[in-house]
């Protein structure tokens, strides 16, 4: 996973609520067995069917921060949604509320999710609609979103922040504790099922 410290870019306003992961990337793109190259599936139905969809507008073509309505990333657990956003050039998604699995996946894939109060999201929407070239900085070190003369703090737990700042992979961190895992395993009740062998 790439480390995330701070990112400055332009932002696209996605004025929709409850954007589900089927919209971020539909099922037909999930047949691939690679971990990259999902940009063609990103919001493909809206990009195809709605000429005035925000990401079809040239002024937002280079946006690297997505500012979405509440409840972003509901539905399917597909991490492909995170990969598609990353492949499509996004490093950050801002929303007033994320679905849990999407948010959790993002901490593993290196996409930063930032929760801001809806009023701050609305203010940001207004600013980037008035001037799509507005530079927006998301600073994970300082836990702060900055644009124009506005600075908004955001919350992130220290452990996740540390992992993202260092770009650390969870499996490696857990492997430091395999002795604890073995001790736990030794005490599991014998009647718990095993998938192998089939009786």
């Amino acid at each position: 996973m790439d480390a995330f410290t701070t990112h400055t870019g332009t932002a696209a306003p996605l004025r929709r609520s409850a954007v589900d992961t089927d919209q971020i990337i539909p099922a037909e793109y999930l047949k691939r067995i690679t971990r990259t190259g999902f940009e063609d599936g990103l919001f493909v139905a809206w990009r195809t069917n709605e000429p005035d969809f925000v990401l079809n507008k040239p002024e937002y073509a280079d946006a690297s921060i997505l500012v979405a309505g509440p409840d972003f990333g509901t539905g399917s657990s597909r991490e492909h949604a995170n990969w598609a956003l990353l492949d499509g050039g996004f490093r950050v998604v801002i929303s007033s509320r994320f679905a849990d699995i999407f948010r959790n996946n993002s901490t593993k894939s290196g996409l930063l999710t930032v929760v801001l109060p809806q009023a701050d999201v609305e203010a940001l929407w207004t600013a980037i609609e008035a001037d799509p070239a507005t530079p927006v900085t998301v600073d994970l070190q300082a836990k702060q979103v900055t644009y124009g003369d506005v600075s908004v703090p955001f919350d992130v737990d220290d452990y996740t922040r540390w992992r993202l700042l260092e770009g650390l992979d969870d499996v490696g961190l857990t492997e430091r504790h395999l002795d604890d895992v073995a001790a736990y395993e030794a005490a599991r009740p014998s009647w718990l099922p095993a998938a192998l062998p089939a009786r």
Binding site: K31, S77, E79, D100, I101, P189
Partner: protein
């Protein structure tokens, strides 16, 4: 300190807990399917890692599998490559796989309970959001992403933060023709598609206790549609009776020891929930969705809502977008909505009881001539059982199509898809735009409503058929 059921299961699986870090949680069972696993296995290979506990891991093929001609190779080369990747990975890493054609094959959330692998008090994960289904047994079961699949394969654990606790209490008796599906659609309509974010829901109350295991699975299945991390129900005699004698259920003295432990898996008196919701079962009627998320649902007696009625601006905009996509006009009675396809199946409602229920309505009748009905059992086991009971004949004689087992039109990764503009009544769990095929329009319904709708070609409540 008194604990909730979910807290008891969580605490019993903490391998390591340190201030300022997530807990490390042990995973008792890891279910795997072809869609969310290939990149995880690639990750293991790239790092030179193995699967720590292949004996606690079980794989099957479900999302991509065709439901016709199931013994031939998959025609779509991309789907075939994905299934082939799972087969190679299962061999390389020593994992049991139930492939197409195997008698244990089926939707991952149908086969776990069917084999008796899903048991009370366990932690169960799968790279699939509907893993919450297994909570019906009093297990803590939740969906994970592909990076976490890799983590569980490598370590049999997951870093976790303690979830918040929520109760949904349903008291009273359901009216005839009203089912578990209607209960959960009503819950989601009440709290919203992300209303339970960060929480584990425990479903309780007399109406829940009266439900069969199949019905409990329907309810827990759709917990994720309310945004919950998981949903669970305390195990009881209904649970034990369902499990006893299944291939992976404990036997003899082990069974006695297990049941003794399982009986302790109840929320203590005085345990605190962060949020509590209650529902009166007797007031519920069949529920159908009108929009493009599972929270946009209403009793079937209602009419398509007018977006102007929504006070909240983002809800109003969502309703406008949904109605435009669904091709619906405010004020239209839901019963007048004409349906092209009825889909009976999925991990929500593709179990034997669901098929039996639908068959009671179709017995000796013909479905509407302009309506297509697809019946897709959730697993090969369900298919064989239904055929032994003659249900396949009931469906085919009524004019429905009887198919092989898999996810099928729940998400259309196989050839079973809606055409653009086509409208379905579906017993699955998601009515998202394009979920059942590009441009397809989905109304979520119960198996009884699905069967009644197939007979009339319009959204229909079971009670409407009486005297018809």
């Amino acid at each position: 300190m008194p604990k909730t059921l979910a807290e008891k299961v969580y605490d019993a699986h903490v391998v390591r807990s340190t201030a300022g870090e997530p807990d490390l949680l042990y995973i008792d069972l890891h279910l795997v399917h072809e869609v969310t696993s290939p990149q995880a296995f690639d990750g293991l290979r790239a790092a030179g890692r193995t699967v720590r506990r292949p004996d606690l891991t079980m794989a099957t093929e479900d999302h991509n599998v065709p439901t016709l001609d199931i013994l031939s190779p998959i025609a779509d080369p991309v789907s075939r490559a994905q299934v082939d990747a799972l087969r190679r990975n299962a061999v390389e890493f020593g994992i049991r796989l139930a492939p197409m054609g195997d008698r244990d094959q089926g939707i991952v959330h149908v086969i776990g309970p069917q084999l008796g692998l899903t048991q009370p008090g366990m932690t169960i994960v799968c790279g699939d959001s509907h893993t919450s289904t297994h909570g019906a047994f009093g297990a803590l079961a939740f969906g994970i992403g592909t990076s976490e699949v890799e983590h569980v394969l490598a370590t049999q654990t997951l870093p976790q933060y303690r979830p918040k606790q929520m109760s949904v209490t349903v008291e009273g008796e359901l009216a005839p023709g009203v089912s578990a599906k209607d209960v959960i659609l009503a819950v989601i309509a009440q709290i919203g598609t992300n209303g339970a974010a960060g929480h584990v829901i425990e479903y309780r109350g007399s109406a829940i206790e009266a439900l069969s295991m199949e019905a409990r699975m329907t309810i827990c299945n759709m917990s994720i549609e309310a945004g919950a991390k998981a949903g669970l129900i305390a195990p009881d005699q209904t649970t034990f009776d369902f499990l006893q004698g299944r291939p992976h259920a404990p036997e003899g003295a082990d069974w006695e020891a297990a049941v003794e432990h399982w009986r302790t898996l109840r929320t203590d008196d005085g345990a605190v929930f962060d949020r509590e919701v209650t529902l009166d079962a007797s007031t519920l009627t069949p529920f159908v969705t009108w929009g493009t998320n599972p929270g946009q649902g209403l009793p079937i007696d209602g009419v398509v809502p007018d977006p102007a009625q929504f006070a909240d601006e983002s809800e109003r905009r969502a309703a406008e977008q949904a109605l435009a996509y669904m091709g619906l006009t405010p004020g239209t009675p839901l019963r007048e909505i004409k349906v092209d396809t009825v889909f009976l199946g999925s991990c929500t409602n593709g179990r034997i009881e669901d098929l039996r229920t639908a068959a009671t309505f179709l017995q000796g009748k013909r479905i509407d001539p302009d309506t297509r009905m697809l019946v897709v059992p959730g697993s090969v086991g369900v298919k064989l059982q239904a055929e032994a009971e003659g249900l396949d004949k009931v469906f085919t004689e009524a004019g429905a199509e009887w198919r092989g087992a898999g996810c099928s039109m729940c998400l259309g990764m196989n050839p079973d898809q809606l055409q653009p503009g086509e409208r379905s009544a579906s017993t699955s769990n998601r009515n998202f735009q394009g979920r059942q095929g590009k441009g397809g329009r989905t109304h979520l319904v119960s198996p009884s409503v699905a069967a009644a709708t197939a007979l009339t070609g319009r959204l229909t409540a079971p009670a409407d058929l009486i005297g018809a």
